[in-house]
């Protein structure tokens, strides 16, 4: 399971500006006595989860192929740097053939046993216009698996951020619309109350993993609006990791879930008893009926 913890070589590949910022964030984490951090990356298939992981690590750690589902099992990438360890868990897509892939979810759950999730990166594409039922189902499935709390530890990552919006919308307007609609889906899917949801304050980060991503003057990968997105992402991650919420610890119980077969088991004798009494009642009613009708006509 646990892949070998390696020195974070890729970190050196980042532009100096990025390295600086990242170091800053990690230092912040260390201050909070967090020497390691686990990031779970989830999302539908083909939205760029693995690419995001690669971007984040700065190495091609996870195989990415454009059309192929990247893998059927979760993969954890661990990198250590200056005593700080970051674990990133890449997961298979959660959707297949129009259904939520519960099998994959089970695999993920199994993989996470006895781990603590500090941050969930929920990945989707920015350049898709519509949110549909499947998105809701995915959110729902995640909620069911890890509980509503997971969403308090979530960063929404929107990939393919380097594009020009249609219909003459401005980039900002489009991206905020898109992220709003996704957040709304998450809220609905997680069945969170509005207040609760607002408290959780899911951060949104835009990402562009493509090699064609434009770079800013500091050689950082930048979005159309000029922001360097990797530091943004790391910042959001650290923010979430250090927020007041408890990290999600995946224990055996959570993995096994409540056995639905056991649900209501205790009611069985009760129902049997009720049946008996109902039977008695009916019999009594019938007897009564017979008595009444049995009287001389």
């Amino acid at each position: 399971m646990g892949s070998l913890v390696r020195e974070w070589v890729g970190f050196q590949q980042f532009p100096a500006a990025t390295q600086e910022k990242l170091g800053e964030f990690f230092g912040k984490l260390k201050q909070k006595d967090m020497n390691s951090m686990t990031v779970l990356v989830m999302g539908k298939g083909g939205v760029g989860k693995s690419s995001t992981v690669n971007s984040l690590i700065g190495e091609q750690v996870v195989r990415v192929s454009p059309f192929q589902a990247e893998g059927l099992r979760p993969v954890m990438v661990s990198r250590t740097m200056g005593g700080f360890t970051i674990n990133i868990i890449d997961t298979p897509g959660l959707v297949e053939a129009g259904y939520v892939n519960y099998q994959a979810l089970e695999l993920i759950k199994g993989f996470l046993v006895n781990r603590t999730i500090d941050v969930l990166l929920y990945v989707d594409r920015l350049d898709v216009y519509r949110v549909d039922e499947l998105d809701r189902q995915v959110v729902q499935a995640i909620t069911q698996t890890f509980g509503k709390e997971i969403w308090c530890k979530t960063v929404l990552v929107l990939t393919h951020a380097q594009f020009s919006p249609p219909d003459e919308l401005s980039y900002e307007a489009f991206s905020s619309k898109r992220s709003d609609s996704l957040l709304k889906t998450i809220r609905v899917g997680a069945k969170m109350r509005k207040q609760q949801f607002e408290d959780s304050a899911i951060g949104v980060v835009y990402a562009e993993n493509s090699g064609r991503c434009s770079k800013n003057e500091k050689e950082e990968k930048a979005l159309p609006n000029g922001e360097a997105w990797i530091p943004n992402l790391v910042k959001a991650i650290t923010d979430v990791a250090t927020n007041q919420r408890k990290a999600i610890h995946v224990d055996k119980k959570m993995v096994d879930g409540s056995n639905s077969d056991d649900r209501g088991k205790k009611l069985i004798p009760l129902i049997i008893g009720a049946q008996f009494f109902i039977l008695k009642m009916i019999q009594g009613a019938i007897r009564n009926d017979i008595k009444i009708s049995g009287k001389p006509v």
């Binding site: 454009p66 589902a69 129009g98 259904y99 039922e133 898109r178 493509s210 077969d261 209501g264």
Partner: protein
């Protein structure tokens, strides 16, 4: 392939079946060849010898034909016959001449066009002379025959000319042994002329002819056949010719397993067929010729001894070969024989395509018959057949629509060459010309026959044939013929041989040539006569043919006598060298050489011919000559040259084959009957050798070998032909023509020849051939146009207009016709138009017209496009529509649902009215598919109003993954709109300007890879969703078009959006749409019948009656209605056995018990309640006992009464009618027995008046009309079991025939059913009863009307038998059924019922049987316990359904009854019903609670699970 070699004889034909017509034609030709065998061979020889010969032969033939017509049997009267022939024959003769000429002509023509024209003729003449010599001996008889045949043929020809296809039988009568399978490559038809042995083969050949005729000009053929009937062989051939006309056969494969098979003939036949396709008339003629050859072949084979017979056969064959005229004659003779054979043929047909095949088969058989008659020398006959075939081939060539001919000759002596030649001839000849050619071959055939019979006669015939052949050749412009020749055995004369033969003949003729010329002159007279005949048949073509043949014929006659065998021998020798040289040189040089060797004239003529032939032969051989069977070294020469080349080669070979055949025939004739067999063998051997050589083009060497073999001029000719053709056949064959007695002797065994033949490729000849053929082709095209039927023309015109339209659209879009898509469309249009490439359908003309109309500014294209747009939400459907239309007609919104309902958007774009059906986005979640389906159903409504031509399935290019997320919605689309929706679907990928993602290496993919990957993913998904491989055939893969709607999309200078790959997507997409629409329009234009047929077939299937159901309905045993007087009596089907009556009578004492009991007072319930438990028990016991006794008593009284009635019945007669119920004891209210003429409803076993069942009890015995509710007896709650009304009426018609009618109408939530049963019965005495009935009932959504009748008789005391039948009308279907039922009573309690029946409808039948054992309680009517065990068996469509049924009804206690029904079938599905009815055991009802609760619980509990795992 041919290799299939179905059963020897018939099978081949069947095999040919696939290409129906072509095969048939081929077979027919073969048959003809077989019949005329000798004549054919001679004809071939003549051909080979040269055109001049053909002319002679014609004359001779004509004469012969006349004679024959007058007195076919009178062979001796040659002169008289001939004269008659001129007059009568003129028609016939023409036809014959044509036939004979065709082979020769084909050969000569093929060569001539290229190189020699006049020269070849001269050669022919020489050849003719030789033949004539041979012929002379037999000529008289043959001539007579031929003439008669000719007459018939001529008549037929007239009819046939329009369209005739002949399939030449591969096998010679003698040696077809296995199977000459001719496959028409074009149609893919394979003929297996496995003729298993000669006789069979020959018949087959005839059969084929017939079949062909039927196919092409069926009516005409029939007529011809009649004529033919006189001469069986001839008729067949004629028919064959007709078939050829229809021929669309593209390729013909002939496998000849046995020796002596005339593969060539078959090939020729196929060729002919092709020709017919082009020009009907011409083709027909060719066919006739071939037929004639076949006939001749048959003769040879059959009769060595009976020369006369042979002659006759030959003559007949000639007639057939003549096709038009000959056919009639042949038909006559053949018909006689065929009488028996036809039947066989028909049988064979059944298996295959049926009509055509069957016909062919018949024809074949007929041929066989002829063959048998002639039969003496089967081997020789084979050769003849080959020749005939060759002739046919020639004709085919003329019509040449054939593309490739494969000839496999397994055994020796097969004249493969002949086939090849035939094909060549066809090619060379123009359509009309080809017709002539055909005639000529026929003439040759006849001539051959004559030769066999009389040398003189044969010579004439040969000459005629040759001349005709020449003419044909000239006209014929075969485009491409692929000939595959496989010669397994030695001695097969492949292509090369024929040529050689020709050359040889020529050589022989050297001396003879002079004679031949004079003969020709004489022939002129004859020709005149013939011409008249020809006109009748095929006017123009026939005339031309006639003229040519006539001359040759005359010469031939003269020559015949003059030139003895010896001369021929010498000539042969000379010719051989010449031929070799010719072959080598291929062209003129060779000819000259030949001429040198031989007389100048002969050589000259020969050389050209030889050259041509050789070249052709060579090509053929090189192409596909596989001599697998023969170990002789005929190594499968697969020379796969260009198609054209191959064709040419084939022709050459065919010619050569013809020559050989002719020679062989002659030889056989000369040799006399005894020798014929030998000759045939020799021939076969030679053939093999030739084949080998042909394949490699080692003709020269082979030829040499052959030359040795050949003694006579015929041999020489063969050699020449072989050499010229490039076939080394000559080498193998040693043709020794003794003085007219023995034409050929095969020195080597069939198997040995192969070793001798070296394979040498001759490339030069091919080139020459190609040149030669090029011009003829053009001519052909024109002719083909001329010959187009009105219908075809209309189609072509429509296609053309479509093409113009498309070109205009192209122009408007700024695309050129060279654009890949456009080019494809145009190509497909051209394919759809078939090979018609003439003025009517020329691309250039279309282009010109398109440019013109565009220049005129004619906006109206009369072209509209309906486009349905489907796709996921948010992929850009509406945006795409906007982009295509160029203005924002559809509202779009990136985030919202912009399109909420199905909308139509129309606009005219570039003169085309485009209507888009815009749809709301589909949802990809599997859970949302019902919403999708709903949306799609509204799409469907719109589609009905506005059927879409094109469906755009829109998706995004940049979101493609392999997670199959689109599968659910694609499946929904498929399910809602049908798989056909994908047929004209274009996958449209939007966002196509987005940058490709990074590849595995981290570097971005190339755009093209990206696009192709995405396209593949989408197409694959569609394929998976459709699940239909037919739809997803790679070639039908939905085209993909890219779309970019983004306003920032890059644009080119014209402001047109450009994709990253530089494509301008909008015009591209429009072009794709136009193309698809144009193609589908073209398809629907050309094949309107096919889809209709499919639908019809499909519909039939859907509506096929449910036979098993009808069967079970039929098998049901029914009670016959009875006259009231008979109620309960011992009418035949009474449920109560008389035994019971008597038995019960014996218990009278017991019965009286009831009366002796003390009075019993029933207690009221209140009183009962007061009783103690014991008292109550005792009371009930007593009560039950008394009830039982009472019932028994009543029953016995009833029986007694019935018995009384029975006794008095005769006296009382029917006057008793109407008594029922009136005498009823008032006491009997409870168990009312007899009064109610209805079956009682199930009543509770006790007399509980509270039971609701009694509420529906109607006691109206006096009314004849009874109405009551229908109780669903299988329901749980009988109170709620009423779902219908039943009315029943019974009456007696005429006081004698009791009738009942029952109507039951039931209706529940799902369906409404009506069911009418009515029946009338009549009693026959005490032991018989007949019932007729009429039922109406629902079967599915249709009403089935059943008329049924059955008779039941009691044949033993305890045995009753029923016979019945029914006819069911269900929609358009009629199902008939028969049943047999038997019922045996074993003792009082056991009844055994067995029934069996069958139901049949539209060739579909169901068989069923039932067996039932019933066990009743001892005191049955009173005790209600009974059990029955039934077994049923139904077989339908190969499906065997076995079912067992157990029914048991038992009383439990005094108030309860349990009924158990259990059924199980062999599919391991079954049901068990336990019904308990009780009047006082309430707690039993509670037992039901448990399962109910359990099921409720189960349905509740899984919900929790579902919540979590609902996805699974």
């Amino acid at each position: 392939m041919d290799s299939k070699a179905v059963t020897p004889e018939q099978n081949p034909f069947y095999a040919s079946g696939p290409s129906g017509k072509t095969y048939a034609s081929v077979v027919a030709a073969a048959a003809a060849a077989s019949k005329e065998g000798v004549a054919v061979s001679s004809a071939k020889e003549f051909d080979s010898s040269s055109e001049a010969v053909s002319g002679n032969s014609e004359k001779g033939i004509v004469g012969g034909a006349d004679n024959l017509s007058d007195t076919e049997k009178e062979k001796e009267e040659k002169s008289s016959l001939e004269a008659g022939g001129d007059g009568k024959i003129s028609d016939e003769g023409d036809s014959l001449k044509e036939d004979s000429v065709t082979p020769e002509a084909a050969s000569s023509l093929s060569p001539k066009p290229d190189v020699v024209s006049e020269k070849t003729i001269g050669e022919d003449g020489v050849g003719v002379t030789e033949e004539n010599t041979k012929v002379e001996e037999r000529a008289d008889d043959i001539e007579n025959d031929g003439e008669t045949k000719l007459e018939n043929g001529s008549v037929d020809v007239g009819e046939k000319q329009p369209s005739r296809e002949e399939i030449v039988d591969e096998n010679l009568e003698m040696e077809r042994e296995e199977s000459g399978e001719v496959e028409n490559k074009v149609k893919g038809v394979e003929e297996e002329a496995v003729g298993s042995k000669k006789d069979e083969e020959v018949p087959r050949g005839d059969g084929t002819d017939e079949e062909e005729s039927e196919l092409s000009g069926k009516v005409d053929v029939d007529d011809k056949r009649d004529d033919v009937i006189e001469e069986e062989g001839e008729k067949l051939t004629n028919k064959g010719d007709f078939s050829v006309d229809s021929s669309t056969i593209e390729s013909v494969h002939v496998d000849v397993a046995k020796p002596g098979v005339a593969v060539v003939g078959e090939v020729e036949g196929s060729e002919e067929m092709k020709i017919k396709a082009d020009g009907e008339n011409l083709e027909v003629a060719n066919k006739f010729d071939q037929i004639g050859d076949d006939d001749g072949g048959g003769f040879d084979l059959e009769s060595d001894k009976a020369i006369e017979g042979v002659e006759e056969k030959l003559a007949t064959g000639a007639d057939s070969s003549e096709l038009e005229s000959a056919d009639t004659n042949a038909a006559e003779s053949e018909a006689v024989e065929s009488g028996t054979e036809p039947n066989d043929v028909e049988e064979g047909n059944g298996s295959e395509k049926s009509v055509t095949y069957a016909e062919v088969i018949k024809a074949d058989r007929a041929v066989a018959d002829n063959g048998t008659k002639e039969e003496e020398s089967g081997f020789s006959g084979v050769v003849d057949d080959e020749e005939e075939r060759v002739n046919k081939a020639d004709s085919v060539v003329d019509s040449s629509v054939m593309e490739s001919v494969h000839v496999d000759v397994a055994k020796p002596g097969v004249v493969v060459v002949g086939d090849v030649e035939g094909s060549e001839v066809l090619e060379t000849d123009g359509n009309i010309a080809s017709v002539h050619n055909k005639f000529d071959p026929v003439g040759q055939v006849e001539g051959d026959g004559l030769e066999l019979q009389s040398d003189k006669a044969t010579e004439e015939g040969v000459k005629n044939l040759t001349s005709e052949g020449d003419s044909n050749v000239n006209s014929s412009a075969v485009e491409t013929v692929d000939a595959d020749i496989n010669v397994a055995e030695p001695g097969v004369v492949v292509v090369g041989v024929p040529k050689e033969a020709e050359t040889k003949e020529d050589d022989d003729g050297a001396g003879e040539v002079d004679k031949a010329i004079p003969n020709i002159e004489k022939a002129d007279d004859l020709t005149a006569a013939y011409d008249g005949n020809f006109e009748l048949a095929a006017k123009e073509t026939s005339e031309a043919v006639r003229v040519e043949p006539d001359e040759p014929k005359v010469d031939v006659k003269e020559e015949e006598e003059d030139l003895p065998v010896s001369e021929s021998l010498t000539v042969k020798e000379d010719s051989k060298p010449a031929a070799e040289s010719q072959f080598e040189a291929n062209s003129n040089p060779e000819v000259r050489e030949v001429s040198e060797g031989d007389n100048a004239e002969e050589g000259g003529s020969k050389s050209p011919v030889a050259d041509i032939v050789s070249s052709r032969e060579f090509s053929v051989e090189s192409k596909e000559v596989d001599q697998e069977p023969s170990g002789e070294g005929i190594i499968g020469v697969d020379g796969s040259e260009s198609e054209e080349e191959t064709e040419e080669m084939i022709f050459g070979s065919s010619e050569a084959a013809k020559q050989f055949l002719a020679e062989l025939e002659k030889a056989s004739g000369i040799e006399a009957h005894s020798d014929e067999a030998n000759i045939s063998n020799n021939m076969s051997d030679r053939i093999d050798g030739q084949i080998v050589t042909d394949s490699d083009e080692d003709v020269d060497t082979e030829d040499e070998g052959e030359e040795k073999m050949f003694d006579s001029a015929a041999l020489a000719a063969l050699l020449k032909a072989a050499t010229g053709g490039g076939s080394s056949e000559g080498g193998n064959f040693t043709i020794t023509s003794q003085d007219g007695t023995k034409l050929f002797s095969m020195d080597r065994p069939a198997g040995l020849s192969s070793s001798l033949r070296p394979l040498k490729p001759a490339a030069a000849p091919r080139a020459n051939r190609s040149n030669i053929f090029s011009t003829p082709n053009v001519a052909m095209v024109e002719e083909s146009e001329v010959n187009l039927s009105e219908e075809e023309k209309q189609k072509l015109e429509k296609l053309q207009s479509l093409r113009v339209k498309f070109l205009r659209l192209l122009q408007r879009l700024g695309h050129s016709a060279e654009d890949s898509i456009a080019a494809q469309v145009l190509y497909r249009l051209a394919i759809l138009a078939g090979r018609q490439t003439g003025q009517l359908f020329s691309l250039d003309a279309a282009k010109k017209k398109a440019v013109e109309s565009e220049a005129e500014g004619n906006e109206d294209l009369n072209f509209s496009l309906n486009i349905l747009v489907l796709g996921k939400a948010g992929v850009g459907k509406s945006a795409t529509i906007n982009s295509i239309l160029g203005n924002p007609k559809a509202s779009i919104d990136a985030f919202g649902l912009s399109t909420t309902s199905v909308r139509e958007i129309s606009e005219t774009v570039g003169g085309v009215k485009i209507t888009f059906i815009d749809t709301p986005g589909l949802k990809s979640a599997a859970m949302d598919q019902s919403a999708n389906a709903k949306m799609l159903s509204s799409v469907k409504k719109v589609m009905k109003r506005c059927p879409p031509d094109i469906v755009l399935y829109v998706d995004r290019l940049d979101t493609q993954t392999r997670d199959l997320n689109n599968l659910p919605l694609l499946r929904t689309i498929t399910a809602s709109l049908g798989t056909s929706i994908w047929k004209n679907a274009i996958v449209t990928l939007t966002h196509s300007a987005s940058a490709p993602p990074d590849g595995p290496g981290g570097s971005p993919l190339s755009y093209d890879v990206f696009v192709s990957q995405c396209s593949h993913i989408v197409q694959q998904s569609i394929g998976q969703a459709v699940g239909d491989l037919r739809v997803m055939n790679p070639s039908l893969m939905n085209p993909v078009s890219l779309v970019e709607n983004h306003p920032l999309c890059r644009k080119n200078r014209e402001g047109v959006k450009v994709l990253p790959n530089g494509q301008t997507w909008r015009p591209q997409l429009l072009l794709l749409c136009y193309s698809l629409k144009v193609l589908s329009e073209a398809n629907s234009l050309l094949k309107p019948q096919e889809p209709l047929d499919h639908r019809k077939v499909f519909g039939f299937r859907v509506r096929a009656p449910p036979l098993p159901y009808l069967l079970s309905w039929l098998l049901q045993s029914r009670a016959h209605p009875k006259l009231p007087a008979d109620q309960g009596g011992d009418s035949v089907d009474s449920d109560i056995e008389i035994d019971d009556v008597s038995d019960s009578e014996q218990e009278d004492g017991e019965g009286d018990e009831y009366d002796q009991l003390p009075p019993f007072k029933p207690l009221r319930k209140t009183q009962l309640a007061k009783l103690s438990k014991e008292q109550r028990k005792a009371y009930f016991e007593e009560y039950d006992y008394r009830v039982k006794l009472l019932q028994k008593k009543q029953w016995k009284e009833e029986l007694k009464r019935m018995k009384e009635m029975k006794k008095n019945g005769k006296k009382v007669g029917e006057s008793v009618f109407g008594f029922p119920g009136e005498e009823e004891d008032p006491e009997n209210g409870g168990p009312a027995a007899v009064a109610v003429p209805l079956p009682d409803m199930v009543l509770p076993p006790s007399f509980d008046s509270d039971n609701s069942a009694y509420r529906y009890r109607f006691l109206e015995p006096t009314s004849q009309l009874l109405t009551r509710p229908v109780l669903d007896t299988h329901g749980w709650d009988h109170d709620c079991g009423y779902d219908g009304v039943n009315a029943e009426h019974s009456l007696a018609i005429a006081s004698r025939f009791p009738a009942t009618a029952t109507v039951q109408v039931t209706k529940d939530k799902k369906e409404f059913n009506i069911h009418l049963d009515s029946s009338v019965s009549a009693k026959h005495g005490d032991s018989g009863s007949t019932m007729a009935g009429f039922d109406i009932q629902n079967v599915g959504k249709q009403l089935a009307y059943v008329v049924r009748g059955e008779t039941k008789f009691k044949n033993l005391r305890k045995n009753k038998t029923t016979l019945g039948g029914s006819v069911t009308f269900l929609g358009e279907n009629v199902a008939t059924g028969v049943k047999l039922e038997d019922q045996i009573a074993l003792g009082k309690r056991f009844v055994l019922v067995g029934s069996t029946g069958t139901m049949r409808s539209q060739g579909d039948s169901a068989y069923g049987a039932n067996l039932e054992v019933r066990l009743k309680e001892a005191d049955f009517p009173i005790g209600q316990d009974q059990h029955s065990l039934g077994l049923s068996l139904v077989k339908w469509r190969g499906d065997l359904a076995l079912g067992a049924n157990l029914q048991s009804q038992v009383s439990v206690g005094r108030h309860s009854k349990i009924a158990l029904r259990a059924g199980l079938n062999n599919k391991m599905s079954g049901q068990i019903t336990v019904r308990t009815s009780s009047s006082d055991q309430l707690q039993i009802a509670l037992t039901a609670i448990l399962p109910i609760v359990m099921s409720i619980y189960k349905s509740l509990r899984p919900e929790g699970v579902n919540d979590k795992y609902s996805m699974y």
